[in-house]
Protein backbone atom coordinates (compact mmCIF):
# COMPACT_ATOMS: atom_id res chain seq x y z
CA UNK A 1 0.00 0.00 0.00
CA UNK A 2 2.82 2.37 0.87
CA UNK A 3 4.46 1.48 -2.40
CA UNK A 4 1.28 2.31 -4.26
CA UNK A 5 1.04 5.63 -2.44
CA UNK A 6 4.60 6.54 -3.32
CA UNK A 7 4.34 5.41 -6.94
CA UNK A 8 0.90 6.92 -7.44
CA UNK A 9 -0.86 9.75 -5.63
CA UNK A 10 2.20 11.10 -3.83
CA UNK A 11 4.16 11.23 -7.06
CA UNK A 12 1.40 13.17 -8.81
CA UNK A 13 0.87 15.42 -5.82
CA UNK A 14 4.56 16.24 -5.45
CA UNK A 15 5.07 16.83 -9.16
CA UNK A 16 2.01 19.06 -9.39
CA UNK A 17 3.02 21.01 -6.32
CA UNK A 18 6.52 21.37 -7.70
CA UNK A 19 5.36 22.67 -11.07
CA UNK A 20 2.66 24.96 -9.69
CA UNK A 21 4.87 26.09 -6.85
CA UNK A 22 7.76 27.00 -9.11
CA UNK A 23 5.44 28.78 -11.52
CA UNK A 24 3.82 30.62 -8.63
CA UNK A 25 7.17 31.73 -7.24
CA UNK A 26 8.28 32.94 -10.65
CA UNK A 27 4.97 34.70 -11.13
CA UNK A 28 5.33 36.42 -7.77
CA UNK A 29 8.77 37.65 -8.78
CA UNK A 30 7.69 38.97 -12.15
CA UNK A 31 4.48 40.43 -10.73
CA UNK A 32 6.51 42.70 -8.48
CA UNK A 33 7.57 44.36 -11.71
CA UNK A 34 10.55 46.43 -12.80
CA UNK A 35 10.21 50.08 -13.75
CA UNK A 36 11.33 50.98 -17.22
CA UNK A 37 14.73 52.59 -17.27
CA UNK A 38 14.33 56.08 -18.70
CA UNK A 39 18.05 56.87 -18.87
CA UNK A 40 19.56 56.85 -22.36
CA UNK A 41 21.46 53.56 -22.64
CA UNK A 42 25.05 53.43 -23.73
CA UNK A 43 24.63 49.89 -24.99
CA UNK A 44 21.99 47.18 -25.30
CA UNK A 45 20.24 45.82 -22.22
CA UNK A 46 19.02 42.60 -23.87
CA UNK A 47 22.48 41.72 -25.07
CA UNK A 48 23.83 42.48 -21.60
CA UNK A 49 21.20 40.23 -20.03
CA UNK A 50 21.94 37.29 -22.29
CA UNK A 51 25.64 37.74 -21.91
CA UNK A 52 25.45 37.78 -18.11
CA UNK A 53 23.36 34.60 -17.97
CA UNK A 54 26.29 32.75 -19.47
CA UNK A 55 29.30 34.81 -18.43
CA UNK A 56 28.56 34.39 -14.72
CA UNK A 57 29.23 30.69 -15.10
CA UNK A 58 32.87 31.74 -15.27
CA UNK A 59 33.97 32.98 -11.84
CA UNK A 60 35.19 36.55 -11.71
CA UNK A 61 38.97 36.67 -11.70
CA UNK A 62 39.54 38.52 -8.44
CA UNK A 63 37.49 36.08 -6.33
CA UNK A 64 38.81 32.91 -7.93
CA UNK A 65 41.67 32.61 -5.49
CA UNK A 66 39.88 33.25 -2.20
CA UNK A 67 36.66 31.62 -3.33
CA UNK A 68 38.22 28.52 -4.86
CA UNK A 69 36.73 26.04 -2.38
CA UNK A 70 33.18 27.25 -3.03
CA UNK A 71 33.82 27.41 -6.75
CA UNK A 72 35.42 23.99 -7.19
CA UNK A 73 33.06 22.21 -4.82
CA UNK A 74 30.09 24.07 -6.27
CA UNK A 75 30.89 22.99 -9.83
CA UNK A 76 31.64 19.42 -8.76
CA UNK A 77 28.30 19.15 -7.05
CA UNK A 78 26.19 20.87 -9.70
CA UNK A 79 27.77 19.18 -12.71
CA UNK A 80 27.71 15.80 -10.99
CA UNK A 81 24.07 16.27 -9.98
CA UNK A 82 23.10 17.40 -13.48
CA UNK A 83 24.68 14.27 -14.92
CA UNK A 84 22.99 12.02 -12.35
CA UNK A 85 19.57 13.60 -12.74
CA UNK A 86 19.38 13.78 -16.51
CA UNK A 87 21.83 11.24 -17.87
CA UNK A 88 21.60 8.30 -15.48
CA UNK A 89 19.80 5.39 -17.13
CA UNK A 90 17.21 4.75 -14.41
CA UNK A 91 16.24 8.45 -14.50
CA UNK A 92 16.05 8.58 -18.27
CA UNK A 93 13.73 5.55 -18.16
CA UNK A 94 11.67 7.16 -15.38
CA UNK A 95 11.25 10.44 -17.27
CA UNK A 96 10.40 8.61 -20.49
CA UNK A 97 7.75 6.53 -18.75
CA UNK A 98 6.23 9.18 -16.55
CA UNK A 99 6.79 12.59 -18.08
CA UNK A 100 8.15 13.03 -21.57
CA UNK A 101 7.18 9.91 -23.49
CA UNK A 102 10.57 9.94 -25.17
CA UNK A 103 14.08 9.13 -24.02
CA UNK A 104 17.64 10.22 -24.70
CA UNK A 105 21.20 9.06 -24.41
CA UNK A 106 22.27 7.89 -20.96
CA UNK A 107 25.78 7.59 -19.66
CA UNK A 108 27.52 4.25 -19.09
CA UNK A 109 27.64 2.80 -15.59
CA UNK A 110 31.24 3.77 -14.92
CA UNK A 111 30.40 7.40 -15.78
CA UNK A 112 27.46 7.22 -13.41
CA UNK A 113 29.80 6.14 -10.60
CA UNK A 114 32.22 8.96 -11.39
CA UNK A 115 29.40 11.53 -11.53
CA UNK A 116 27.97 10.28 -8.27
CA UNK A 117 31.30 10.45 -6.49
CA UNK A 118 32.03 13.93 -7.84
CA UNK A 119 28.57 15.13 -6.81
CA UNK A 120 28.85 13.63 -3.33
CA UNK A 121 32.33 15.00 -2.80
CA UNK A 122 31.21 18.45 -3.95
CA UNK A 123 28.13 18.42 -1.74
CA UNK A 124 30.03 17.29 1.34
CA UNK A 125 32.76 19.88 0.76
CA UNK A 126 30.13 22.59 0.38
CA UNK A 127 28.36 21.41 3.51
CA UNK A 128 31.55 21.41 5.54
CA UNK A 129 32.54 24.79 4.12
CA UNK A 130 29.13 26.18 5.07
CA UNK A 131 29.60 24.92 8.62
CA UNK A 132 33.23 25.88 9.10
CA UNK A 133 33.62 29.19 7.24
CA UNK A 134 32.61 32.17 9.42
CA UNK A 135 30.92 33.98 6.52
CA UNK A 136 28.75 31.12 5.34
CA UNK A 137 28.07 30.05 8.91
CA UNK A 138 26.69 33.52 9.62
CA UNK A 139 24.66 33.66 6.42
CA UNK A 140 23.23 30.15 6.45
CA UNK A 141 19.75 29.39 7.60
CA UNK A 142 17.76 26.25 8.35
CA UNK A 143 16.63 26.39 4.72
CA UNK A 144 20.20 25.97 3.47
CA UNK A 145 20.88 22.96 5.67
CA UNK A 146 17.50 21.35 5.02
CA UNK A 147 18.01 21.59 1.29
CA UNK A 148 21.50 20.15 1.60
CA UNK A 149 20.36 17.23 3.73
CA UNK A 150 17.42 16.43 1.48
CA UNK A 151 19.53 16.44 -1.68
CA UNK A 152 22.16 14.33 0.05
CA UNK A 153 19.58 11.77 1.15
CA UNK A 154 18.02 11.63 -2.30
CA UNK A 155 21.44 11.06 -3.87
CA UNK A 156 22.47 8.50 -1.25
CA UNK A 157 19.25 6.52 -1.48
CA UNK A 158 19.51 6.57 -5.26
CA UNK A 159 23.04 5.22 -5.29
CA UNK A 160 22.18 2.52 -2.75
CA UNK A 161 19.06 1.57 -4.70
CA UNK A 162 21.05 1.16 -7.88
CA UNK A 163 23.85 -0.72 -6.22
CA UNK A 164 21.64 -3.07 -4.21
CA UNK A 165 18.76 -3.42 -6.67
CA UNK A 166 16.40 -3.63 -3.73
CA UNK A 167 12.85 -2.43 -4.38
CA UNK A 168 12.47 -0.91 -0.95
CA UNK A 169 15.49 1.26 -1.55
CA UNK A 170 14.12 2.38 -4.89
CA UNK A 171 10.87 3.34 -3.23
CA UNK A 172 12.72 5.18 -0.49
CA UNK A 173 14.64 7.08 -3.17
CA UNK A 174 11.43 8.02 -4.95
CA UNK A 175 9.80 9.04 -1.69
CA UNK A 176 12.72 11.29 -0.75
CA UNK A 177 12.70 12.78 -4.24
CA UNK A 178 9.01 13.52 -3.80
CA UNK A 179 9.71 15.24 -0.50
CA UNK A 180 12.36 17.28 -2.25
CA UNK A 181 9.92 18.27 -4.98
CA UNK A 182 7.43 19.39 -2.35
CA UNK A 183 10.09 21.34 -0.44
CA UNK A 184 11.62 22.89 -3.56
CA UNK A 185 9.25 25.83 -4.29
CA UNK A 186 9.30 26.91 -0.65
CA UNK A 187 13.07 27.06 -0.39
CA UNK A 188 16.09 28.72 -1.91
CA UNK A 189 16.50 25.67 -4.13
CA UNK A 190 14.46 27.94 -6.37
CA UNK A 191 17.80 29.47 -7.34
CA UNK A 192 17.92 26.71 -9.94
CA UNK A 193 15.34 28.72 -11.89
CA UNK A 194 15.67 32.25 -10.57
CA UNK A 195 19.42 32.55 -11.21
CA UNK A 196 18.69 33.21 -14.86
CA UNK A 197 16.40 36.09 -13.95
CA UNK A 198 18.90 37.56 -11.51
CA UNK A 199 21.76 37.37 -13.96
CA UNK A 200 19.52 38.76 -16.68
CA UNK A 201 18.34 41.75 -14.66
CA UNK A 202 21.85 42.66 -13.57
CA UNK A 203 23.29 42.02 -16.99
CA UNK A 204 20.67 44.28 -18.53
CA UNK A 205 21.28 47.12 -16.07
CA UNK A 206 25.04 46.93 -16.47
CA UNK A 207 24.76 46.37 -20.20
CA UNK A 208 22.83 49.60 -20.64
CA UNK A 209 25.70 51.36 -18.88
CA UNK A 210 28.23 49.70 -21.14
CA UNK A 211 29.69 47.52 -18.41
CA UNK A 212 30.08 43.79 -18.93
CA UNK A 213 28.39 42.10 -16.02
Amino acid sequence: MIAQLIEGPLWYFSLTLFVLGVLWRLFMILHAGVKKDLAVPRDGGRVGALRAIFSRFVPERTVRRHGRVQLIAGYMFHLGLFALLFLARPHVDFFTERITGFGWWSMPYWAFIVAAEVAFAGLIMLWLFRLLNPVTRLLSSADDYTGTVLVFLVMLSGCLALAQSVEALRLLHLFLAELLLIYFPFSNLMHAFTFAFSRGYTGATMGRKGVRA
Binding site: G21, R25, M28, I29, L30, H31, A32, G33, V34, K35, D37, L38, A39, V40, R42, A52, I53, R56, P59, E60, R61, T62, V63, H66, G67, Q70, L71, G74, R130, N133, P134, V135, T136, R137, L138, L139, S140, S141, D144, P185, F186, S187, N188, M190, H191, T194, F195, F197, S198, R199, G200, Y201, T202, T205, M206, K209, G210, V211, R212, A213
Partner: protein
Amino acid sequence: MSEQFKQGVAELGKQIDAKISSYFSSCVHCGLCAEACLFYTETGDPRYTPIYKLEPMKKLWRQEHTIRGKLAKMLGLSKPLQEQDFADWEELVYDSCTLCGRCSMVCPVGNDITYMISKEREGFSRAGYAPEGLKGATQRALEIGSPMGVTLKTVLATLAHVEKNTGLSVPVDQQGADYMTLFSSMEVVNFPEYIESIARIFEVAGVSWTISSKAFEATNSGIQIGNSDNAAEIVGRVVTAAEDLGVKYVISPECGHAYTSIRWAGPNLIGRPYTFKVIHILELLEQLKRQGRIKFDGKTGEPVTFHDPCQIVRRGGVVEPQRDLLNGVAENFVEMADHGVMNWCCGGGGGVSANERADELRSKAFDRKRKQIEETGVDTVVTACANCRMMLEDGIEENEMETTVIGLTELIADYLVTDAKEQPEVR
Protein backbone atom coordinates in the same frame (compact mmCIF):
# COMPACT_ATOMS: atom_id res chain seq x y z
CA MET B 1 6.90 51.31 17.19
CA SER B 2 6.92 54.92 16.06
CA GLU B 3 4.95 56.28 13.16
CA GLN B 4 8.19 57.16 11.41
CA PHE B 5 9.40 53.60 11.73
CA LYS B 6 6.15 52.28 10.27
CA GLN B 7 6.61 54.64 7.33
CA GLY B 8 10.13 53.35 6.91
CA VAL B 9 8.95 49.76 6.80
CA ALA B 10 6.20 50.69 4.35
CA GLU B 11 8.78 52.38 2.14
CA LEU B 12 11.05 49.36 2.39
CA GLY B 13 8.19 47.21 1.20
CA LYS B 14 7.57 49.49 -1.77
CA GLN B 15 11.18 49.05 -2.86
CA ILE B 16 10.81 45.31 -3.36
CA ASP B 17 10.49 44.95 -7.10
CA ALA B 18 11.03 41.95 -9.38
CA LYS B 19 14.78 42.41 -9.25
CA ILE B 20 14.93 42.40 -5.44
CA SER B 21 12.59 39.43 -5.30
CA SER B 22 14.62 37.52 -7.83
CA TYR B 23 17.86 38.36 -6.05
CA PHE B 24 16.66 37.14 -2.67
CA SER B 25 15.24 33.99 -4.28
CA SER B 26 18.54 33.26 -5.97
CA CYS B 27 20.94 33.84 -3.11
CA VAL B 28 22.38 30.56 -1.85
CA HIS B 29 24.56 32.15 0.84
CA CYS B 30 27.77 31.11 -0.83
CA GLY B 31 29.65 34.03 0.72
CA LEU B 32 31.58 34.93 -2.42
CA CYS B 33 30.38 38.53 -2.23
CA ALA B 34 32.44 38.90 0.95
CA GLU B 35 35.62 38.32 -1.03
CA ALA B 36 34.83 41.34 -3.18
CA CYS B 37 34.08 43.74 -0.32
CA LEU B 38 36.95 45.73 1.14
CA PHE B 39 35.16 46.07 4.48
CA TYR B 40 35.25 42.30 4.83
CA THR B 41 38.63 41.60 3.29
CA GLU B 42 40.38 44.18 5.49
CA THR B 43 38.66 43.33 8.77
CA GLY B 44 37.77 39.64 8.44
CA ASP B 45 34.43 40.43 10.07
CA PRO B 46 31.74 38.25 8.45
CA ARG B 47 29.05 40.82 9.33
CA TYR B 48 30.42 42.97 6.52
CA THR B 49 29.48 40.34 3.96
CA PRO B 50 27.45 42.38 1.46
CA ILE B 51 24.35 40.19 1.35
CA TYR B 52 24.26 40.09 5.15
CA LYS B 53 23.68 43.84 5.17
CA LEU B 54 20.28 43.07 3.63
CA GLU B 55 18.82 40.91 6.39
CA PRO B 56 16.10 43.42 7.38
CA MET B 57 14.90 43.74 3.80
CA LYS B 58 15.09 39.98 3.34
CA LYS B 59 12.91 39.45 6.37
CA LEU B 60 10.27 41.74 4.93
CA TRP B 61 10.54 40.16 1.49
CA ARG B 62 10.08 36.71 2.88
CA GLN B 63 6.99 37.73 4.82
CA GLU B 64 5.37 39.50 1.93
CA HIS B 65 6.56 37.72 -1.19
CA THR B 66 7.05 34.04 -0.39
CA ILE B 67 4.48 31.33 0.32
CA ARG B 68 6.35 30.02 3.33
CA GLY B 69 6.95 33.51 4.68
CA LYS B 70 3.32 34.55 4.35
CA LEU B 71 2.24 31.33 6.04
CA ALA B 72 4.71 31.81 8.86
CA LYS B 73 3.50 35.37 9.38
CA MET B 74 -0.14 34.22 9.40
CA LEU B 75 0.59 31.54 11.95
CA GLY B 76 2.58 33.94 14.12
CA LEU B 77 5.78 31.99 13.53
CA SER B 78 7.70 35.00 12.26
CA LYS B 79 7.83 38.41 13.89
CA PRO B 80 7.45 41.62 11.90
CA LEU B 81 10.41 43.98 11.61
CA GLN B 82 11.22 45.83 14.83
CA GLU B 83 12.94 49.16 15.43
CA GLN B 84 15.81 47.18 16.94
CA ASP B 85 16.38 45.47 13.59
CA PHE B 86 16.95 48.85 11.97
CA ALA B 87 19.01 50.11 14.89
CA ASP B 88 21.22 47.02 14.75
CA TRP B 89 21.66 47.18 11.00
CA GLU B 90 22.14 50.91 10.49
CA GLU B 91 25.91 50.72 10.74
CA LEU B 92 26.11 47.79 8.36
CA VAL B 93 23.90 49.55 5.83
CA TYR B 94 25.64 52.91 5.95
CA ASP B 95 29.08 52.67 7.56
CA SER B 96 30.30 49.51 5.86
CA CYS B 97 28.99 50.06 2.36
CA THR B 98 30.17 52.61 -0.15
CA LEU B 99 27.80 51.33 -2.88
CA CYS B 100 30.98 50.54 -4.79
CA GLY B 101 29.42 47.65 -6.68
CA ARG B 102 32.22 45.09 -6.53
CA CYS B 103 29.95 42.55 -4.89
CA SER B 104 27.50 42.93 -7.76
CA MET B 105 30.27 42.00 -10.20
CA VAL B 106 31.15 38.69 -8.56
CA CYS B 107 27.90 37.16 -7.33
CA PRO B 108 27.60 33.80 -9.13
CA VAL B 109 23.82 34.04 -9.37
CA GLY B 110 24.08 37.61 -10.66
CA ASN B 111 22.66 39.56 -7.73
CA ASP B 112 23.14 43.32 -7.91
CA ILE B 113 23.69 43.62 -4.18
CA THR B 114 24.57 47.31 -4.47
CA TYR B 115 21.17 48.00 -6.00
CA MET B 116 19.59 46.10 -3.13
CA ILE B 117 21.43 48.14 -0.50
CA SER B 118 20.42 51.39 -2.22
CA LYS B 119 16.83 50.25 -2.01
CA GLU B 120 17.19 49.19 1.60
CA ARG B 121 18.47 52.66 2.45
CA GLU B 122 15.16 54.08 1.21
CA GLY B 123 13.45 52.31 4.09
CA PHE B 124 16.11 53.10 6.64
CA SER B 125 16.29 56.79 5.82
CA ARG B 126 12.51 57.12 5.94
CA ALA B 127 12.50 55.44 9.33
CA GLY B 128 15.08 57.94 10.58
CA TYR B 129 17.91 55.42 10.73
CA ALA B 130 20.70 57.12 8.84
CA PRO B 131 24.01 58.71 9.95
CA GLU B 132 23.83 62.26 11.26
CA GLY B 133 26.47 63.50 8.84
CA LEU B 134 24.43 62.35 5.86
CA LYS B 135 21.21 63.74 7.26
CA GLY B 136 22.88 67.12 7.71
CA ALA B 137 24.36 67.05 4.22
CA THR B 138 21.00 66.22 2.68
CA GLN B 139 19.25 68.92 4.69
CA ARG B 140 21.76 71.52 3.52
CA ALA B 141 21.47 70.31 -0.07
CA LEU B 142 17.72 70.80 0.03
CA GLU B 143 17.72 74.13 1.87
CA ILE B 144 20.85 75.82 0.57
CA GLY B 145 21.50 73.92 -2.65
CA SER B 146 24.76 72.33 -1.49
CA PRO B 147 25.55 69.64 1.10
CA MET B 148 28.54 71.67 2.22
CA GLY B 149 26.70 74.96 2.51
CA VAL B 150 28.20 76.42 -0.66
CA THR B 151 25.98 79.27 -1.79
CA LEU B 152 25.79 80.95 -5.16
CA LYS B 153 27.71 83.85 -3.66
CA THR B 154 30.62 81.62 -2.71
CA VAL B 155 30.58 79.94 -6.12
CA LEU B 156 30.68 83.35 -7.79
CA ALA B 157 33.53 84.39 -5.50
CA THR B 158 35.43 81.25 -6.48
CA LEU B 159 34.70 81.92 -10.14
CA ALA B 160 36.00 85.47 -9.76
CA HIS B 161 39.21 84.01 -8.36
CA VAL B 162 39.41 81.61 -11.32
CA GLU B 163 38.79 84.40 -13.78
CA LYS B 164 41.51 86.51 -12.26
CA ASN B 165 44.01 83.65 -12.37
CA THR B 166 43.23 82.62 -15.90
CA GLY B 167 42.27 85.90 -17.52
CA LEU B 168 39.23 84.05 -18.83
CA SER B 169 35.59 84.60 -18.08
CA VAL B 170 33.36 81.84 -16.76
CA PRO B 171 29.95 82.22 -18.36
CA VAL B 172 26.99 82.17 -16.01
CA ASP B 173 23.42 81.62 -17.19
CA GLN B 174 24.45 81.79 -20.83
CA GLN B 175 21.30 81.02 -22.79
CA GLY B 176 21.76 78.52 -25.60
CA ALA B 177 25.28 77.44 -24.65
CA ASP B 178 26.10 73.92 -25.76
CA TYR B 179 27.20 72.67 -22.36
CA MET B 180 26.06 73.43 -18.84
CA THR B 181 28.60 72.27 -16.32
CA LEU B 182 28.02 71.28 -12.72
CA PHE B 183 30.50 71.30 -9.85
CA SER B 184 30.53 69.24 -6.73
CA SER B 185 30.75 71.23 -3.51
CA MET B 186 33.94 69.33 -2.80
CA GLU B 187 35.53 70.81 -5.90
CA VAL B 188 34.45 74.35 -5.02
CA VAL B 189 35.65 73.99 -1.43
CA ASN B 190 38.73 71.78 -1.64
CA PHE B 191 39.82 71.56 -5.25
CA PRO B 192 38.90 74.80 -7.02
CA GLU B 193 41.85 74.22 -9.34
CA TYR B 194 39.50 71.83 -11.13
CA ILE B 195 37.34 74.79 -12.15
CA GLU B 196 40.37 76.68 -13.38
CA SER B 197 41.45 73.67 -15.37
CA ILE B 198 38.19 73.27 -17.22
CA ALA B 199 38.02 77.01 -17.93
CA ARG B 200 41.42 76.80 -19.62
CA ILE B 201 40.61 73.60 -21.47
CA PHE B 202 37.28 74.86 -22.74
CA GLU B 203 38.87 78.10 -23.89
CA VAL B 204 41.46 76.25 -25.95
CA ALA B 205 38.91 73.81 -27.34
CA GLY B 206 36.41 76.51 -28.15
CA VAL B 207 33.69 74.86 -26.08
CA SER B 208 30.52 76.86 -25.66
CA TRP B 209 29.69 76.42 -22.00
CA THR B 210 28.03 77.95 -18.98
CA ILE B 211 27.15 77.30 -15.38
CA SER B 212 23.69 77.94 -13.99
CA SER B 213 23.13 80.23 -11.05
CA LYS B 214 20.03 78.16 -10.24
CA ALA B 215 21.71 74.77 -10.12
CA PHE B 216 25.47 74.47 -9.92
CA GLU B 217 25.65 71.54 -7.51
CA ALA B 218 26.44 68.13 -8.94
CA THR B 219 26.43 66.01 -5.77
CA ASN B 220 23.23 64.29 -4.78
CA SER B 221 23.04 63.44 -1.09
CA GLY B 222 19.56 62.08 -1.65
CA ILE B 223 21.05 59.19 -3.57
CA GLN B 224 23.63 58.50 -0.87
CA ILE B 225 21.24 58.58 2.05
CA GLY B 226 18.65 56.67 0.05
CA ASN B 227 15.75 59.06 -0.25
CA SER B 228 14.34 59.19 -3.76
CA ASP B 229 12.14 62.19 -3.05
CA ASN B 230 15.12 64.25 -1.91
CA ALA B 231 17.21 62.89 -4.78
CA ALA B 232 14.49 63.83 -7.26
CA GLU B 233 14.24 67.34 -5.86
CA ILE B 234 18.00 67.83 -6.13
CA VAL B 235 18.33 66.43 -9.65
CA GLY B 236 15.14 68.23 -10.69
CA ARG B 237 16.81 71.57 -10.08
CA VAL B 238 19.58 70.67 -12.51
CA VAL B 239 17.11 69.47 -15.11
CA THR B 240 15.01 72.63 -14.84
CA ALA B 241 18.08 74.84 -15.08
CA ALA B 242 19.45 72.96 -18.08
CA GLU B 243 16.14 73.04 -19.89
CA ASP B 244 15.63 76.73 -19.10
CA LEU B 245 19.05 77.52 -20.57
CA GLY B 246 18.38 75.31 -23.57
CA VAL B 247 21.71 73.53 -23.38
CA LYS B 248 22.45 70.40 -25.39
CA TYR B 249 24.58 68.74 -22.71
CA VAL B 250 25.04 68.77 -18.97
CA ILE B 251 28.59 68.01 -17.89
CA SER B 252 29.00 65.90 -14.81
CA PRO B 253 32.25 66.83 -13.05
CA GLU B 254 34.90 64.70 -11.34
CA CYS B 255 32.51 63.39 -8.70
CA GLY B 256 31.43 59.77 -8.69
CA HIS B 257 27.94 59.88 -7.24
CA ALA B 258 27.13 63.03 -9.18
CA TYR B 259 27.54 61.03 -12.37
CA THR B 260 25.37 58.08 -11.38
CA SER B 261 22.76 60.52 -10.08
CA ILE B 262 22.46 62.75 -13.11
CA ARG B 263 23.32 60.22 -15.81
CA TRP B 264 21.62 57.03 -14.70
CA ALA B 265 19.25 57.70 -11.82
CA GLY B 266 18.01 61.16 -12.78
CA PRO B 267 15.45 60.42 -15.50
CA ASN B 268 13.97 57.66 -13.34
CA LEU B 269 13.80 59.97 -10.35
CA ILE B 270 11.92 62.69 -12.21
CA GLY B 271 9.86 60.22 -14.18
CA ARG B 272 10.79 61.31 -17.69
CA PRO B 273 13.73 61.43 -20.09
CA TYR B 274 15.77 64.63 -20.33
CA THR B 275 15.70 66.98 -23.29
CA PHE B 276 19.49 67.16 -23.09
CA LYS B 277 22.29 64.60 -22.89
CA VAL B 278 24.57 64.03 -19.94
CA ILE B 279 28.31 63.65 -20.49
CA HIS B 280 31.04 63.05 -17.95
CA ILE B 281 33.93 65.51 -18.05
CA LEU B 282 36.31 62.66 -18.85
CA GLU B 283 34.17 61.60 -21.82
CA LEU B 284 34.14 65.18 -23.06
CA LEU B 285 37.89 65.63 -22.65
CA GLU B 286 38.56 62.40 -24.49
CA GLN B 287 36.22 63.49 -27.25
CA LEU B 288 37.98 66.85 -27.54
CA LYS B 289 41.33 65.08 -27.73
CA ARG B 290 40.08 62.72 -30.41
CA GLN B 291 38.75 65.64 -32.40
CA GLY B 292 42.10 67.40 -32.13
CA ARG B 293 40.54 70.34 -30.29
CA ILE B 294 42.95 69.86 -27.39
CA LYS B 295 46.54 68.82 -27.77
CA PHE B 296 49.14 68.07 -25.17
CA ASP B 297 52.53 69.62 -24.65
CA GLY B 298 54.80 66.75 -23.65
CA LYS B 299 54.30 64.14 -20.98
CA THR B 300 55.28 63.64 -17.41
CA GLY B 301 58.14 61.19 -17.07
CA GLU B 302 57.00 60.30 -13.57
CA PRO B 303 55.38 56.85 -13.27
CA VAL B 304 51.71 57.23 -12.44
CA THR B 305 48.86 54.87 -11.67
CA PHE B 306 45.11 55.42 -11.79
CA HIS B 307 42.46 54.94 -9.12
CA ASP B 308 39.13 54.24 -10.81
CA PRO B 309 36.25 55.99 -9.02
CA CYS B 310 33.60 53.31 -8.55
CA GLN B 311 30.56 55.36 -9.53
CA ILE B 312 32.16 56.66 -12.70
CA VAL B 313 33.73 53.41 -13.84
CA ARG B 314 32.08 50.26 -12.52
CA ARG B 315 28.64 51.76 -11.83
CA GLY B 316 28.88 54.47 -14.48
CA GLY B 317 30.42 52.77 -17.49
CA VAL B 318 33.16 55.38 -18.15
CA VAL B 319 36.13 53.05 -18.34
CA GLU B 320 38.43 53.89 -21.26
CA PRO B 321 38.44 57.71 -21.66
CA GLN B 322 40.57 58.27 -18.57
CA ARG B 323 43.10 55.75 -19.80
CA ASP B 324 43.33 57.35 -23.18
CA LEU B 325 43.76 60.78 -21.61
CA LEU B 326 46.34 59.64 -19.07
CA ASN B 327 48.39 57.92 -21.74
CA GLY B 328 48.37 61.25 -23.56
CA VAL B 329 50.14 63.06 -20.71
CA ALA B 330 52.09 60.32 -18.93
CA GLU B 331 54.96 58.32 -20.38
CA ASN B 332 54.73 55.61 -17.78
CA PHE B 333 51.16 54.75 -16.80
CA VAL B 334 51.17 51.65 -14.60
CA GLU B 335 47.77 50.02 -14.11
CA MET B 336 46.87 48.61 -10.71
CA ALA B 337 46.52 44.83 -10.81
CA ASP B 338 42.79 45.13 -10.19
CA HIS B 339 41.91 48.04 -12.42
CA GLY B 340 39.04 49.35 -14.51
CA VAL B 341 35.69 47.91 -13.50
CA MET B 342 37.30 45.71 -10.85
CA ASN B 343 39.39 48.37 -9.12
CA TRP B 344 38.92 48.63 -5.36
CA CYS B 345 36.97 51.42 -3.69
CA CYS B 346 38.73 54.27 -1.87
CA GLY B 347 36.45 53.50 1.06
CA GLY B 348 34.65 56.85 1.09
CA GLY B 349 31.78 56.61 -1.35
CA GLY B 350 28.11 56.05 -0.64
CA GLY B 351 28.12 58.69 2.07
CA VAL B 352 30.77 56.95 4.18
CA SER B 353 33.14 59.93 3.98
CA ALA B 354 30.41 62.21 5.35
CA ASN B 355 29.83 59.84 8.26
CA GLU B 356 32.16 60.56 11.17
CA ARG B 357 31.05 57.41 12.97
CA ALA B 358 32.54 55.36 10.12
CA ASP B 359 36.01 56.94 10.23
CA GLU B 360 37.72 54.10 12.07
CA LEU B 361 36.23 51.42 9.84
CA ARG B 362 37.02 53.42 6.73
CA SER B 363 40.58 53.68 7.91
CA LYS B 364 40.89 49.90 8.16
CA ALA B 365 39.21 49.41 4.79
CA PHE B 366 41.75 51.74 3.18
CA ASP B 367 44.33 49.04 3.70
CA ARG B 368 43.13 47.44 0.50
CA LYS B 369 43.89 50.59 -1.50
CA ARG B 370 47.21 50.99 0.29
CA LYS B 371 48.25 47.51 -0.80
CA GLN B 372 47.11 48.18 -4.34
CA ILE B 373 49.18 51.36 -4.55
CA GLU B 374 52.24 49.74 -2.98
CA GLU B 375 52.08 46.82 -5.41
CA THR B 376 52.39 49.21 -8.35
CA GLY B 377 55.66 50.58 -6.95
CA VAL B 378 54.51 54.01 -8.09
CA ASP B 379 54.37 57.20 -5.99
CA THR B 380 51.78 59.18 -7.93
CA VAL B 381 48.12 58.26 -8.07
CA VAL B 382 45.88 60.04 -10.53
CA THR B 383 42.14 59.98 -10.05
CA ALA B 384 39.01 61.74 -11.26
CA CYS B 385 36.79 62.22 -8.25
CA ALA B 386 37.19 64.88 -5.57
CA ASN B 387 35.91 62.58 -2.83
CA CYS B 388 38.23 59.74 -3.85
CA ARG B 389 41.05 62.23 -3.83
CA MET B 390 40.27 63.24 -0.25
CA MET B 391 39.99 59.63 0.86
CA LEU B 392 43.25 58.70 -0.84
CA GLU B 393 45.07 61.64 0.75
CA ASP B 394 43.60 60.84 4.18
CA GLY B 395 44.67 57.22 3.91
CA ILE B 396 48.09 58.07 2.54
CA GLU B 397 48.79 60.39 5.46
CA GLU B 398 47.50 57.96 8.03
CA ASN B 399 49.70 55.21 6.62
CA GLU B 400 52.68 57.53 6.22
CA MET B 401 52.99 56.74 2.56
CA GLU B 402 55.09 58.81 0.17
CA THR B 403 52.34 58.92 -2.44
CA THR B 404 50.94 62.07 -4.03
CA VAL B 405 47.46 62.31 -5.52
CA ILE B 406 46.63 64.37 -8.59
CA GLY B 407 43.34 65.10 -10.31
CA LEU B 408 43.24 63.99 -13.95
CA THR B 409 41.59 67.13 -15.31
CA GLU B 410 44.25 69.31 -13.68
CA LEU B 411 47.00 67.13 -15.09
CA ILE B 412 45.46 67.46 -18.56
CA ALA B 413 45.25 71.24 -18.15
CA ASP B 414 48.87 71.42 -17.07
CA TYR B 415 50.00 69.83 -20.34
CA LEU B 416 47.58 71.65 -22.59
CA VAL B 417 48.95 73.29 -25.70
CA THR B 418 47.66 76.83 -25.54
CA ASP B 419 50.04 78.22 -28.15
CA ALA B 420 51.06 76.42 -31.35
CA LYS B 421 54.63 77.71 -30.94
CA GLU B 422 55.19 76.00 -27.54
CA GLN B 423 57.73 73.20 -27.67
CA PRO B 424 57.17 69.79 -26.08
CA GLU B 425 58.54 69.39 -22.58
CA VAL B 426 59.06 66.49 -20.27
CA ARG B 427 58.80 67.09 -16.45
